[in-house]
Symmetry: D2
Subunit: 278 residues, 4 copies
């Protein structure tokens, strides 16, 4: 399934500023970038780097004035529908060792402190994809999705008590529960089809049965229409723009649409099927 994505960021730069941008689709096995274009205006030299997990960073040094970032791409997602009941958890003994750091607690996902609750609530469930779905359902039912109830310092620990947040908080709580149960989990920012209003979205991925599977406890977007951008431990690793200097964002727009392939109308369904993305 193909998607056309775009984002446009405008800044007023008041002093020389270093931007580290992360708006390009991530380099993932199941996410093929067919075409893409990144325009910086004014045009400036840029450095690029692809982090281990596939996150693509761009750095630009920008002089005072107006600065615009425009990104467009066509991305093919090669997601396969699996039968959730067949997607098992990978035993620690067989898990690729490079995946194991995603069991560690991180800034916003204090899995070390949520273990007792996670075990009590989800420990008795059948392991595998349905257990992570149960986690997502619990978050959806127990946490209010409400702007303004959390901020950039809010962590899973806080959300567990305060029971309100936005997509990144939902993702952090899901990640923390999974890690507490021995399931490697990572954060992903994304272009999210059908997210309304359009914005950068946050979801999470679990390593199950040899692949990373995607989950969205907010149920706000189509699970098979998530073009991942930044992939990392948690939101600390996936800011779309990090600004070192003095600049103010003046406008932002984000879009994603499916590319019609021989007239087929894609079918959408929130976080219920097992969607493998390895």
């Amino acid at each position: 399934m193909q998607f056309s994505v775009s984002s446009r960021l405008s800044y007023e730069v008041r002093a020389q500023t270093v931007f580290v941008l992360n708006v390009e689709a991530a380099a993932l096995r199941n996410q093929k970038i067919l075409t893409e274009q990144l325009d910086l205006s004014p045009g400036v030299a840029l450095d690029r780097y692809v982090l281990d997990g596939g996150t693509r960073l761009v750095r630009a040094v920008v002089e005072p004035g107006t600065f615009e970032v425009a990104y467009t791409a066509t991305v093919e997602l090669d997601m396969h529908d699996a039968d959730p009941a067949q997607v098992a958890e990978t035993p620690i003994a067989q898990m690729p060792l490079e995946v194991m750091p995603f069991l560690n607690p991180s800034r916003y996902c204090q899995s070390d402190m949520l273990g007792r609750f996670a075990q009590r609530q989800f420990g008795g469930l059948l392991p595998g994809h349905p257990r992570v779905t149960a986690i997502c359902n619990w978050i959806y039912e127990q946490v209010d999705y409400q702007s303004g109830t959390s901020d950039s310092q809010t962590s899973a620990y806080d959300t567990m008590v305060q029971r309100a947040g936005v997509c990144r908080d939902f993702a952090h709580l899901g990640i923390a529960f999974c890690r507490a149960l021995g399931i490697p989990a990572r954060f992903a920012s994304a272009y999210a089809w059908q997210l309304d209003p359009p914005d950068f979205h946050a979801v999470f991925e679990c390593y199950l049965d040899g692949a990373w599977y995607i989950f969205d406890p907010t149920r706000k977007a189509a699970i098979q229409g998530l073009v991942r951008i930044g992939v990392g431990r948690d939101a600390a690793d996936a800011a779309f723009a990090t600004i070192h200097g003095d600049a103010q964002m003046t406008a932002m727009s984000v879009s994603i649409e499916p590319v019609a392939e021989d007239g087929a109308v894609p079918d959408t369904e929130p976080t219920v099927r097992a969607v493998g993305i390895a």
Copy 2:
């Protein structure tokens, strides 16, 4: 129903030390102290004060050496059994204003942060004594009672995430939920009949229907055998001994037994009946 209570504290005092002790039964309307004796050894002058809520403080300045505190009392608890279904919550509009500070958050009971969960979980229940019982049941079922899982800095916020603690943590969580729902709640330390092993216990009280009702979410003691000692906002107000100086506790024992009244064997039942203690 009458109880014979006693406590004995032993200290090794290494430099002149000020002790503020709170081991005597509180001065409460429904808790009549029939006889009592406080012995300090060596005998030292002491100051006394009764706080607003009935907590009785004793201060002693003690020179280096061995210091022993021995307290014994016979206390009559005038508890009345009410039909829980008849014990309503007092509307804010009719609540005595002096009770309202017990709606405020305190050190260990951050009711301001637990409101959303409390409303979601308990807000739809019929107001009154059964709602507080539902809170106690939830705590009993969701939090592990386990020594060593919490310390003197652990608050209701932490217990809500970590789901383990001891009697004071159970009481703090109950208080926080009640305050969040508009029910005044306070902490009480107590001599607790049938607590095994014997120790100072912690419970909480709610202001309902014109009186303070007692609750013990731990279910570890007989609800009608609680002789209250310190009553306050939370555990910060109810330490049995505060030590300013240099002294080390070397031994402690606590006991409580019902006093046989014409051969009647008292009947015990954990936190299920409405026990009024106004």
Copy 3:
């Protein structure tokens, strides 16, 4: 020295609402209320209560519509200038026992967690009023006064790390340090002369040498022009309005001016002198 104070609060009430108001000058020994008037519009019956520390609560049940609260008073502050060097700390052994709860940690003042820093930074200073002034100076120098950096959940623990806040945060930090050093301390909301822009202010008081002394680490108001309103453990005890129901504040104004007494121009000085207010 006399002050004329006033406040006016306007609300849009959408459903029957219980207001608990605390805008009247507190009943304190050194704060004589010469004249005062509280007007509620529409006029509604009200209940009154004076808390132990002198805080005066008013409760009103208000029907839907516009609701206005207007308070004016003339208050004489009987503050005496003491020589700070002569204002000692009261030893625990001699402190009135009713003052001792103000040594306990509270919601926003976790003195139990700040003890090591307080001892290290201020423990070696000469005890007494100058030590509390040193605490105020430290706060003034180390914490940025900046709106929007804190919220109603911010505590002294947070401010110690984040180093920014507003008047209530400054007061909470001062209280926490004092309690950690064995100095009873309490929070006070106040009409504050020369505060610019005019607003309700927050300061703190310490029990020293037999009286409560006032301190303002923000240096934003005249220390001798503080008409106290709510006095308590911390901001949790001193909200100017607590709303149970559905009402929205639409306007608020606060003022305080010295009343000319035989032409004398009062002299103002920020938090440097010892100002006793017992």
Copy 4:
């Protein structure tokens, strides 16, 4: 300079257990492993993985009974002494992009919350190695090194308030300050020459002037005698043993000694020189 290091861990395994061990010297450019041997007893198959930063993980599935891990190695540290005044900070604009994740906050290093203090305290200092040394000196002077004052949940946020901890807390605070100032910083566990009593140690490294420089704010070990083991975001990434199953450690010993090279007696000096370890 060469060191002979060893560690021996003994466990009582009660049910099949997966061990993830990280006791081998890390694969770092300036740390050459001349000889090494890892013995597991009973001998079991093991998986190996080298994480991006050089951390070497070993996984073993162990059946019930006694389990022993013995590691010995000879390691040559190729540290060069630089003139600290010549070791500059790398501007964000020139920093390798792969280093930038070490600017992000992590579980135990909430650099996002410590920025104001870091700027205020260290922001005005001359950038470069001496600034990080100033950070280490501040930590050494302001935080008590004391066992039992912190636990596995203690973070830099807590240590900033509570001012006590052990080596990992010292490292976390140093890392948090550095990241807050725009200096990439990472955590390292180590065999530490002259640490008394011998144990695994924790230090941190900063990316300065094109290389990772090592710092030890505890001053408890010889800065040029640190054989790094686990390198990561913080202590969450550098446990010497992670146990999935049911096993109890029964004994542990750690040692490190310089290997005499032509009779030279190595000279030791705590955290003052710039020691480059790129």
